[in-house]
């Protein structure tokens, strides 16, 4: 059910003015037809008030039942209400004026034009109401739709962000289980690191932006854990100018990129795996370049390996509606991932 048309202040005023104008028009017309003042006022005030009342009934009727594309319904509804109005109008006139008043004969002789004008008014009123209510309806539908789209988008962003790799989690737990035997102190440290890391992934705000400084702290935590797992094989390097740490980045964007690079490097080669993560400022962008070694001869471009990057691409697309923010390239035996993050103004 839509809210009534008359709950709108401006429209209410407009209706009132409209009917007043109509009273004046009818009054002047009657005066021109040499009807005396008393009869002319009674005629126009009673007639138009009843008409205004009828239009409210009509309007209310349409408020509860909106006949879409059924103009026949609108037409007959207007006709019925016009007939009712005409009967009541005549009844009221008979109450006011005594039988034999020549004015009543005048009313009867002008019935066709009166009925016609009233029907015209009421049917345009019904058209107007129909348009108004369908417009309201449409607006509500749109609001609902954009609301649900927003919710879906948020849920997806949330999902993408929290996509913690179970492989990483269980292997880390296994490392802890192992350290408990050989180095309990280190095992406890790793539990703290893993807890801090997990806490980070559980932060609720999806579109939250954080400074590069915070993102790097989180990344370091992740790298520490991975270094415990892979020992000397994994070597990492964070390169950045100091003044870039205030740049903004969507929370937890870099970790999956780096995780992808580490996996790629570790499973595609057998030696030491140097991973470099470099942040630079480029025009209005923060650019992060991640490099990992790989073997171009045996590497297979798989759908599976790109998982981390796919989710990053999707996230950036949802945030900026752009598909060109993630780039990958090859330089000899080095695989390069470039991420561009537009800076908020």
């Amino acid at each position: 059910m839509a809210i009534s048309i008359l709950s709108d202040k401006k429209l209410r005023f407009f209706f009132l003015a409209w009917w007043l104008v109509w009273v004046l028009i009818q009054y002047s017309a009657l005066m021109q037809m040499r009807i005396d003042n008393r009869h002319a006022i009674a005629d126009s005030v009673i007639g138009v008030s009843l008409l205004a009342l009828s239009s409210m009934v009509l309007n209310n009727n349409l408020r509860y039942y909106l006949p879409r594309h059924k103009y026949g319904h609108l037409f007959s509804l207007s006709a019925i209400i016009t007939i009712i109005w005409w009967i009541i109008f005549q009844g009221v006139l008979f109450l006011f004026f005594s039988k034999g008043d020549p004015y009543l004969d005048f009313v009867r002789s002008t019935s066709a034009i009166r009925f016609g004008a009233a029907f015209l008014l009421l049917s345009s009123m019904s058209m107007f109401s129909t348009l108004w209510y369908s417009h309201l309806d449409q607006r509500e539908t749109n609001e609902r739709r954009s609301e649900s789209e927003k919710l879906i988008r948020e849920a997806e962003l949330n999902n993408l962000r929290q996509q913690l790799q179970p492989h990483f989690l269980f292997n880390s737990l296994n490392s802890i289980s192992s350290l408990i035997i050989s180095d309990p102190e280190k095992a406890r440290d790793m539990i703290f690191q893993l807890s801090d890391f997990l806490r980070g992934t559980l932060k609720k705000e999806t579109q939250q932006w954080i400074s590069l400084k915070e993102e790097f702290e989180y990344l370091r935590l992740y790298l520490e854990i991975e270094k415990v797992r892979f020992g000397n094989r994994l070597q990492t390097e964070l390169i950045y100018p100091d003044d870039i740490l205030n740049f903004k980045i969507p929370v937890l964007l870099l970790q999956p990129v780096v995780e992808n690079a580490i996996k790629f490097g570790l499973y595609d080669t057998t030696g030491i795996v140097p991973i470099s993560i470099e942040a630079i400022s480029d025009d209005k962008y923060l650019k992060v370049i991640v490099k990992n070694p790989f073997d171009p001869e045996t590497s297979v471009p798989l759908k599976g390996t790109g998982f981390g990057l796919d989710s990053v691409k999707r996230r950036l697309f949802l945030l900026f509606a752009r598909a060109d923010l993630v780039e990958t390239g090859i330089d000899g035996q080095i695989f390069i991932t470039k991420i561009k993050i537009p800076q908020p103004q």
Binding site: P166, H167, F230, Y267, E297, T298
Partner: protein, 243 residues
């Protein structure tokens, strides 16, 4: 004495297995390996009775390593999380430990191995693992003493050769003990077409088809190779190439 080898790329993961193995005095740890390539060498040199094998490892994974062995030992797989591998295990008698695993769980797996004299069939598990996305794009073969990883894009065509399949690449041919039917299924997604009982061809390599009244149509590859096309193969080719 039973000879044991642990193959896992994470040192700490190997430590857990070593620790649990202390409960079995007649088990002798003969080697530890950090990847599948070392694993193959060590298994061939030491001929162990039992190996503990991680799945995700550098270069080649645990399944691909097993493919390269003529007589694989008994295997207890260890993995942290791998949807595809676990699916491959589910319908087989093969035992696997999900990391992190307890001493109790470890004991059960080992006792199962000790009690059972017959080694469960690995072939099925290896074949179903070979169909998973992480392995589908490449084929691992032995080339003398070397191990070669061939990305499927480098394969020109496959030829049946008794119990083996001969893989033709620009660098040479390699034998793999798989069936033509296996390759027909696994390579379907990579634009390969079975043109004959004996041939599966990489459609990227095709330059033309020559009519030949005597032996039927011949397929011409950009390497100059000519291959016979069967009737069914010709129909499949027409569909794939849109001619």
């Amino acid at each position: 004495m039973r000879k044991i080898i642990i193959i896992d790329d994470e040192v700490l993961a190997r430590t857990v297995v070593k620790e649990y193995l202390k409960d079995y005095p007649d088990f002798l740890l003969v080697d530890e390996c950090g990847d599948g390539l070392q694993g193959v060498k060590s298994i061939q040199a030491n001929i162990p009775d039992l190996i503990f094998l991680d799945i995700q490892m550098p270069k080649i994974n645990g399944f691909e390593m097993l493919e390269l062995l003529d007589a694989p030992p008994h295997v207890i797989f260890t993995t942290a999380y791998d949807d595809f591998a676990i699916k491959a295990f589910e319908h087989s008698a093969v035992d696997y430990l999900l990391k992190p695993f307890s001493r109790e769980r470890f004991r059960k797996a080992v006792e199962k191995y000790i009690d059972k004299n017959n080694i469960p069939q690995l072939t099925e598990v290896i074949e179903s693992a070979a169909l998973t996305p992480s392995q589908q794009g490449r084929v691992v073969v032995k080339d003398g003493n070397k191990i070669k990883i061939i990305p499927v894009s480098q394969i020109q065509f496959l030829e049946s050769a008794d119990d083996y399949v001969k893989i033709h690449t620009a660098e040479g041919t390699y034998l793999k003990n798989r069936t033509m039917n296996f390759f027909e299924t696994s390579l379907e997604a990579y634009q390969f077409t079975r043109i004959h009982r004996s041939y599966i061809v990489n459609t990227q390599m095709i330059t033309g088809i020559e009519p030949n009244d005597k032996v039927g149509p011949m397929l011409l590859l950009n390497t100059g190779t000519r291959l016979s096309v069967s009737k069914a193969g010709y129909a499949r080719l027409k569909e794939v190439l849109g001619i």
